[in-house]
Each structure stands twice: as structure tokens, then as C-alpha cells.
């Protein structure tokens, strides 16, 4: 492979705190050098970055890739197209597929499917319980050996305290993190929206926001008791964040992420029965949205993940209470996160950290940095360029975006996977 010199960019690497104008040299699929005045090696291609930001390829720690069993909604190949357009080069894939990723062979299959795309590393989560049924622990040790990056039942909460205790205890041996969907299942059952005035006006069955804090509080106590590591996915309420903040101060192995809808949208987005905005957990009152946005800055939230949940028309063109939950998120992950930067709430280096080094740290993987010698997974984006999110025109297969019609500032100009340009 020949060398490529990406010139005239703002190098941004939150892992090292680097933020300066310069250039970056790619050779043999790796970052050979970066900085200023590198000179152009013989035969190297050059790319003019036009002053845009060059950062590590984004690491998206919560993605449903559609395989196996949901190929009519999304495939690894179509998700890879959407990811590349969104600047994403690594995803952690949820295991609550059909069948669930509860066998080492399925972990290897998903990893291989990622490699086949040439543009996206797929790191499968292992099912925490067999079949993600929430009954018996899956083969955490064997799944970990096969390459499972962490363990979860996906969109299904571990409701049993005994099971969660066993999981946190057993997984310690394999240094495996447990990812929880923090929603007390008996309170959430049958709900379609956050309990409150809006749900009451719309006549929708509600899920009390406390369903989140209750499970978070329980699991923090279990993490303290077992010494295990728990990660709360898509945290969406102020009270859960307060508990997590306190647990971190205490030094427990507790981390969390959120997804763009929870700091960018509030429950009013479901007005007019917009089922694309029906998510799990449901969109919250604006006070909770503000608390989530604040927690991005203060470090309570470790990472931002797209929580990409591909749904097709048949899943969503239903009366609201019957419609499936979930929103497509790969293509809009960067743009919606940058909206916090443009709103003045978040420095750009922190925004990019939440999308690169921070999720890599949570997952314990080497991606998400511009280190010399690292794989050249890169994202070049113009933070000022405006584009409009239009359902139907999104890259990839899934079109169920909760941000339909939204104008976003910040567009991906190029994505590189191991030195090869896969977008732009």
C-alpha cells in the first residue's frame, strides 16, 4: 500500500490532548507520523483536508447490526455503509439477535462479518444469559475467549437481583464488564412513553422515570458487594445520573453512556404520534434532558453511543403503543453530538472524546486514538458544514431516525479504515 499524507487539517486526539493544525501520514494502513512539517515521502498521495478536523475513527459502543436474524432491517454490510458515512470505524454489536450471541461460534461469525466489509470493525457483545432470556448465565468465559467485548442482554434488563449478583461475581474472573439496560422491568412492562402529563394527554401507558434509578441503585449496590464492573447503557434521567456520579466518587467500577436523543430531544418529540421517536428508554421530560447534557461535560457520562436500532416500516407504521421502540443513529451520531458544541455546552475535544477514546476505554480496546503506529482509523469532518437529516435518504438500510428533518452542523468529509478511504 502506498503512503497517504492528509494535509491541512486540525489534528484532534482527545486520548493525548492533541489539538493543533498539522498533517498526518498513513503508511501500510497505520499512522506513520503526525504533526507539522512532515514532508511528503516519495510516491505518497496527498489529500487536502481543507482545514477540517481529523480525529480518530469513531467508536460506537451500542449498535444493533441486524445480524443474525434481522437482515431485512439491516445487515452488517448496510450498517457498515451508514457507519462509514457517520465517521464510525468500530462498533460494539448487541447480542439480542436471533439467535442470540450466546455461542462462541456466533461471536466469531459476527467479527468475521465485520472484517468482510473492510470498513468496520464489529466487536460483538456476548449474551449475558442463554438466549438473552434472563434465566441462566451464558458461557461468559468461552464467549470472552472468542472475542466478546462485554456482556449484556441488549434491550432486555437483568431483572433478577440474584442473577445480576451471579453475573457480576462470575464475570470478574474474566475481567468482563456487564452492560445493563437500566429499566426496572416490572415498572416498565407495557409502557410506551415516560409517565407524566404528556403520556396522560395522549392516553399512552406510562413508564415512570424512576424505573431507571431503581435499577441503577440496585446494581450499584451489587457492584459494591461483588467487586464486579457494571456499565449502564443509554442513561436518560437526572436521578440515575446522580446515583452514578456518587458511585464513581466512591471508586466503584461503574460507567455509563447515553445516546444523542437523550441530550438532544425531549418527550415532546413523540407528539403527533411520531413512532420514530418511540425509543427504549422513552424520551424524557426536558429537565432530564438538560441533566444528561450537563453530565456529558462533568464526566458522569463516559461515552456517547448511537444506540442504533434499525426498524422497518412494518415495525413503526403502527398505533404508537404497538410500534416497536428504537431509532437509527449511525449517520447522525457525530452531528447531533456536535450540536452540543455549537450550543456552547461542550468543548469540541470533549465531544470527540465521548465518541472515541472514552468508549474505547470503557470497552478496554485499543481503538480511538491517533497514536503513532496505531491502525489508521480516521474521521475527517467539517464542524461548520450544514446538512439535513431526511428519512429515506440516510446511508444504509435503516431510515427510522428520530431526527427526521433536522438540520445539523458538522458533516463527515472522509472516513478511513486501516488507511483505506471508505467514505468521502
Amino acid at each position: 500500500m502506498t503512503a497517504t499524507l492528509i494535509q491541512n487539517v486540525r489534528l484532534l486526539d482527545p486520548a493525548t490532548g492533541l489539538d493543533q493544525p498539522g498533517e498526518l501520514l498513513v503508511r501500510e494502513g497505520r499512522i506513520a507520523d503526525l504533526g507539522t512539517g512532515l514532508g511528503r515521502p516519495d510516491g505518497a498521495d496527498t489529500i487536502d483536508g481543507g482545514g477540517a478536523i481529523l480525529c480518530p475513527g469513531l467508536v460506537d459502543m451500542r449498535v444493533e447490526v441486524g445480524e443474525p436474524g434481522g437482515e431485512f432491517r439491516e445487515t452488517v454490510a448496510s450498517a457498515a455503509v451508514a457507519a462509514a458515512a457517520g465517521g464510525i470505524t468500530t462498533v460494539a454489536a448487541l447480542p439480542d439477535s436471533k439467535p442470540a450471541i450466546d455461542d462462541p461460534a456466533l461471536v466469531r461469525l459476527l467479527r468475521a462479518r465485520g472484517e468482510e466489509t473492510g470498513s468496520l470493525t464489529v466487536l460483538p457483545y456476548g449474551a449475558l444469559t442463554k438466549g438473552c432470556r434472563g434465566e441462566d448465565l451464558a458461557e461468559i468465559g468461552l464467549l470472552r475467549e472468542a472475542g466478546a467485548v462485554a456482556f449484556t442482554d441488549g434491550a432486555r434488563a437483568i431483572g433478577s437481583a440474584r442473577l445480576m449478583r451471579l453475573a457480576l461475581t462470575y464475570a470478574r474472573r474474566f475481567e468482563a464488564k456487564i452492560v445493563q439496560h437500566p429499566e426496572e422491568p416490572t415498572l416498565a412492562e407495557g409502557g410506551a412513553a415516560t409517565e407524566g402529563e404528556l403520556a396522560t394527554r395522549l392516553g399512552l401507558p406510562g413508564i415512570p422515570p424512576e424505573a431507571e434509578a431503581i435499577l441503577v441503585a440496585r446494581d450499584i449496590a451489587l457492584a459494591r458487594m461483588t467487586g464486579g464492573a457494571v456499565h449502564f447503557a443509554h442513561v436518560s434521567t437526572a436521578s440515575a445520573l446522580a446515583l452514578i456520579r456518587h458511585a464513581k466518587e466512591e471508586g466503584l467500577f461503574v460507567t455509563c453512556d447515553t445516546a444523542p436523543p437523550y441530550f438532544d430531544l425531549n418527550e415532546t418529540a413523540i407528539g403527533d404520534w411520531r413512532t420514530f421517536a418511540k425509543l427504549s428508554p422513552p424520551l424524557r421530560a426536558d429537565a432530564d434532558r438538560q441533566a444528561v447534557a450537563a453530565a456529558l461535560l462533568d464526566g458522569t457520562i463516559d461515552a456517547v453511543a448511537s444506540d442504533h436500532q434499525p426498524r422497518d416500516a412494518d415495525d413503526k407504521r403502527l398505533p404508537f403503543a404497538q410500534a416497536a421502540t428504537g431509532g437509527a443513529g449511525l449517520a447522525t451520531l457525530l452531528g447531533v453530538t456536535l450540536a452540543q458544541v455549537h450550543g456552547g455546552a461542550l468543548p469540541v475535544i470533549r465531544a470527540i472524546e465521548l465518541l472515541t477514546a472514552a468508549p474505547a476505554r470503557v470497552l478496554g480496546i485499543g481503538a480511538g486514538t491517533l497514536a503513532k503506529g496505531a491502525a489508521a482509523d480516521l474521521c475527517l469532518f467539517d464542524p461548520e458544514r450544514v446538512w439535513q437529516v431526511v428519512s429515506g435518504n440516510l446511508p444504509g438500510r435503516a431510515q427510522n431516525t428520530p431526527f427526521d428533518g433536522r438540520a445539523l452542523e458538522g458533516k463527515v468529509m472522509g472516513t478511513w479504515k486501516a488507511g483505506r478511504r471508505v467514505f468521502g
Binding site: 442463554k130 434465566e135 441462566d136 448465565l137 451464558a138 458461557e139 461468559i140 468465559g141 468461552l142 442473577l163 451471579l166 461475581t169 462470575y170 470478574r172 474472573r173 461483588t226
Partner: protein, 310 residues
């Protein structure tokens, strides 16, 4: 000189000289057993009752044989045929036994502490043959005798007890006995099968077999009951064997002279590979059974002649 014991209920609390006395006497019975010249008049006229509230073959047979080789009258009561199933309480059973003038009572029970309760109420010397997840003292004694004969002593050895320590009475008795006799004890197993506060018993805890077996003189495997998997403490037999089953690769971390032990019955391919279990150079599993009879003879002998039972 340690005081004579009236019962053998637990290893915990025993003094090293008391333990050594059982082992020394058992040592002499080993030779007598091999030559077939056991003193059949030793317990003549004494009555030994085996009361097994839990199924057991090898321990019951071992006690029965021990009693008979010393000339005792041995009676086996199994739960299926006893009045316990008709609703009699443990203390009613004790009163019945007293009326029968039983001298030695061997009891196995699923509840921790049941032999101790019985010992308060019966006149016989009570021998705990395994109570719940508490203790199994004669197993620890026979394990100690096996090690002592093979390695010359117990002082300064490092012993790894591996597997389901949480539910194991064998593990508890061995931890107490080996620690008392100057061995260093490690417990090795998945975190779900190691009891909380295990360190407080004076053992080192490992969750990785390679680290736990590193340089040890003795590897004691424990039986993994199928029930542990149905209750979700271990995901599957194949995963258990991969990480905790003793095979040649894992055993290679132990000292070259290390002994392999198992209280039986074994689950081959779950906690132990046949190549290791049947290795004549490393495995002393069959020898443990032989030592079991000798140790139980010594226990019956010492308790019947103990000043505390005269």
C-alpha cells in the same frame, strides 16, 4: 497433652496433637489391613450405628468395614427405611438410640450442625460423616494421611483445593486440618463457587487455575454437582472444564512431584480429565479410599477407648 475427645464433630478447634494421634494410629491400621490381621476383638461387644440421612455409598461402606474389622456390631440405618420419614424429629431419634445402648453413632445429614445437635442428646460417641456444607472430618483425616505417607509430612506444604469450595464440607475440613498442621492452603475456583470471606479462614483465594496451581505440592479437586449448573452458578460443564477442569496442561503448573486427589465420586470431563485421574504417577485417588478405612478404624478405636467415653 490435648484433652481426649468425646465426639468427632469437626476439625475446626482440634489441636495438632489430637489430629496427629488419629493419623499415627491409622498408619498402623494401614499395615494391618494389608496383611488382613486386624484386631477383631478391639471393639467386641460395641454397637456402631451408621445413620445416613443423605445418600452415600463409599463413606457408609468405609465406616462399616472399619467397624467390622475391629469386631464391632455394625448396623446400617438408611433414611428410606427409618422412622425419620414418618415424621420423627432428630431428637426423638436420639432418644430411641439411647434406649438401644448404641456406643458409636456415625451420622451424615444434609443440615449443617445436625451431628452437633444429636451429640448433645445421645450417650454414644458421635462421628460426623458429613453435615451439610459444614465439615467432613474423616475425609480430611484420610486426605492428610495420604499426603503424609506420600510426601513425608504436612508442615510447609502448599495445597490447592479446587472447584466448588462454596458448597464443600470436604474443603472446610481440609482447610482447618491442613492449616493446623502447618500447610499453606489455597482455594481455586470461579468467584461464584468461592465462599464470601474465604480469606478469613486463612487461605489464599485464586480464580485462575494456572496461578492457583503454581508450584503447589498437592492438588485437591472437588466434585462439581450438576445442581450447580441448574442453579446458574456455572454456565455449562464445557466452560467449567475449560477453565477449572484439571487436565495435563493445568497440572503442569504444579510442582513436578505434586499429588492429585479427589474425594470421589468423580465427574470425569467436568472437574477432572481421565488422563490425570488415572495417571499412576500423580493420582492417589484410589489410595485415598484405602486410607479412608484405616482412618475410620482409628477414629472408632480412639473414641471408644477415650477417657471421655468411659
Amino acid at each position: 497433652m490435648a484433652p481426649p475427645q468425646k465426639h468427632l464433630l469437626a476439625i475446626e478447634g482440634m489441636y495438632p496433637p489430637q489430629i496427629a494421634a488419629y493419623l499415627d494410629l491409622a498408619e498402623s491400621f494401614v499395615l494391618l489391613n494389608r496383611t488382613g490381621k486386624t484386631p477383631r476383638d478391639r471393639l467386641r461387644g460395641r454397637t456402631l450405628i451408621n445413620m445416613f440421612f443423605e445418600d452415600s455409598t463409599r463413606t457408609r461402606v468405609s465406616f462399616e468395614l472399619a467397624g467390622k474389622r475391629l469386631g464391632a456390631d455394625v448396623i446400617n440405618m438408611s433414611v428410606a427405611t427409618s422412622s425419620v420419614n414418618k415424621g420423627e424429629t432428630l431428637l426423638d431419634t436420639a432418644a430411641t438410640l439411647n434406649a438401644m445402648n448404641c456406643d458409636l453413632l456415625v451420622i451424615r445429614h444434609a443440615s449443617s450442625g445436625a451431628p452437633a445437635l444429636l451429640a448433645q442428646k445421645v450417650e454414644a460417641a458421635v462421628i460426623n460423616a458429613g453435615d451439610g456444607t459444614h465439615e467432613h472430618p474423616t475425609q480430611a483425616l484420610l486426605d492428610a494421611l495420604t499426603i503424609r505417607r506420600r510426601l513425608g509430612g504436612l508442615q510447609g506444604l502448599t495445597v490447592a483445593i479446587c472447584g466448588d469450595v462454596l458448597h464443600s464440607r470436604v474443603a472446610r475440613s481440609n482447610i482447618f486440618l491442613l492449616s493446623a498442621m502447618g500447610s499453606r492452603v489455597r482455594v481455586v475456583g470461579p468467584p461464584t463457587l468461592i465462599p464470601p470471606a474465604a480469606e478469613r479462614l486463612g487461605v489464599e483465594v485464586f480464580h485462575d487455575m494456572a496461578a492457583g496451581l503454581d508450584g503447589v505440592d498437592v492438588v485437591m479437586m472437588l466434585r462439581l454437582q450438576q445442581e450447580r449448573m441448574t442453579r446458574g452458578l456455572v454456565p455449562s460443564a464445557r466452560e467449567y472444564f475449560r477453565f477449572y477442569g484439571l487436565d495435563e496442561a493445568k497440572l503442569a503448573h504444579a510442582a513436578p512431584h505434586a499429588l492429585v486427589m479427589h474425594p470421589g465420586p468423580m465427574n470425569r470431563g467436568v472437574e477432572i480429565a481421565s488422563t490425570v485421574a488415572d495417571d499412576p504417577l500423580r493420582s492417589v485417588i484410589r489410595e485415598q479410599v484405602e486410607m479412608g478405612v484405616a482412618v475410620r478404624m482409628a477414629v472408632l478405636d480412639l473414641l471408644s477407648t477415650s477417657g471421655a467415653n468411659q
